[in-house]
């Protein structure tokens, strides 16, 4: 999993049927100190995160499909947590 910060939302009318009703957020990856990195991803939100939140993102297909309770959903990135604090030395 990676830690990132929500930097935006995506609205979409025409999409794969599985994505109907799923909220999509744009998450920029952050390093251990919380500084933004160049990487980002678009992920399904399962925890009601919002813009500015630090979030935990699962970026792996099998686990992601488990989270969305589907055996064949075309999903790899899922926000699975909102982070309160990170301690890194």
């Amino acid at each position: 999993m990676i830690i990132g910060r929500v930097i935006g939302t995506i609205t979409s009318t025409i999409n794969h049927p599985f994505y109907d009703g799923h909220k999509l957020l744009v998450v920029e990856r952050t390093d251990a100190q919380g500084s933004p990195m160049a990487d980002y991803l678009v992920a399904i939100d399962t925890v009601d995160a919002g813009t500015g939140d630090r979030v935990l993102v699962l970026d792996e297909g099998n686990g992601a499909r488990q989270v969305v309770a589907s055996r064949d959903a075309p999903v790899r990135s899922v926000i699975v947590g909102i982070v309160d604090a990170v301690t890194a030395s």
């Binding site: 935006g8 995506i10 609205t11 009318t13 794969h16 994505y19 999509l24 678009v42 075309p74 790899r76």
Partner: protein, 89 residues
């Protein structure tokens, strides 16, 4: 998933079994600011409605093929949806 801009179409004359009729589009990956990043790729289009100039989000890897029907096809990038609005903060 990542964001990309459709910049063209690809018309293959011979394709693997299962990919007949699947639209193939030239896609320019974008960074989190919406600027072009990296080389162009060819992506299948699960929406079947995307066209040149449109902003889309796409999935890569094994999950890309899961967006198609049949799903056991040799595809590594698939357009999942067309972006209506992209709210950035």
């Amino acid at each position: 998933m990542l964001l990309g801009r459709v910049i063209g179409t690809v018309v293959p004359c011979v394709v693997c079994k299962g990919l007949e009729g699947v639209p193939m589009l030239m896609l320019q990956p974008l960074d989190k600011a919406g600027a072009p990043r990296g080389g162009t790729i060819v992506a299948a289009d699960s929406t079947r409605m995307a066209g040149p100039g449109e902003l889309v989000y796409y999935e890569g890897g094994r999950e890309a093929a899961l967006a198609l029907d049949p799903w056991f096809v040799p595809v590594d990038h698939t357009i999942i949806g067309i972006v209506d609005t992209w709210g950035q903060v």
